[in-house]
Amino acid sequence: MSDHDSHEHHDHDHSHLDGMELKVRTLESLLVEKGYVDPGALDEIVETYETRVGPRNGAAVVAKAWNDPAYLDRLRENATAAIGELGFTGRQGEHMRIVENTPQIHNMVVCTLCSCYPWPVLGLPPVWYKSAPYRSRAVSEPEKVLSEFGVTLPEGKTIRVWDSTAEMRYLVIPERPAGTEGWHEEQLAELVTRDSMIGTGLALSPDETT
């Protein structure tokens, strides 16, 4: 089941392609069409390096939310502005909303398109994230999808699935790992993985990092 809030809709607002994004799409589509490039193989190369793409600013946001209750309140009220406080702004970082994991609730975000993925905050989306099977399965059998990612949730925990769009982009605030009392934000940020911010993983525990 997916929860939806009232989305803003911009009916006359069309998509934009410009700068390098346009150039890359242009050449890539020509090369694929002519058979010089196999899109699957290309995705595979990108996937190998994807975790290193983008500043992963979201980890700093999550760490601050864990340590600073006033900041968490601002995130709840207006996530785009609160994320902007840390200097992270830009087209793909707009219309942000946080969803918080609790002992009772696990949040997971799905999305079908790269245009709605807030990469300045989260880093590059995983290639599978945009695939239709992932999206539909995340909605119909979220426990199974999570277990394939190696995540087992305690019995009885509710899973909420959120559908990200260009008008509403979600950032999951994972639960703070046990044993991190008194940690600085920089240390905490190391525990926040990309997958934990889209809900296909949990934040690392202190002994998972070295």
């Binding site: 911009h10 890359v24 020509l30 290193r52 709605c116």
Partner: protein
């Protein structure tokens, strides 16, 4: 040549803990395209390294230097022409088609030609 070996041969590729880092998603795509075209035998990696190195050098002398991956991209377009993969004219037409596709696609929907 694998991506790993390709990386090893171009020391200037920006890295963090030995892994390449990309400031924006298109940079990863640009990196992958060059590696993939080499894997498919379109050009050798030494030809790539040589052409890219020369462009990088010319760029440092330019009035307003382009970013590392912008130069990488210029090299990719140049290699595409040199090896007859896509001409500047073809790119220009295709670019117009993508812009038209974007203009008729509402926000949040996939842009398709």
């Amino acid at each position: 040549m694998s991506a790993r070996e390709a990386l090893a041969q171009i020391a200037s590729i920006p890295r963090d803990c030995g892994e390449p880092v990309f400031a924006e998603p298109w940079e990863a795509r640009a990196f992958a395209l060059a590696v993939h075209l080499n894997e498919r035998g379109v050009f050798t990696w030494s030809e790539w390294a040589e052409t890219f190195g020369a462009n990088l050098k010319a760029n440092t002398l330019a009035g307003e230097p382009a970013s590392y991956y912008e130069v990488w991209w210029q090299t990719l377009e140049e290699m595409g022409e040199r090896h007859g993969l896509a001409t500047a004219l073809e790119r220009s037409h295709r670019s117009d088609e993508w812009q038209a596709a974007a203009a008729r696609t509402p926000h949040g929907k996939p842009i398709e030609l």
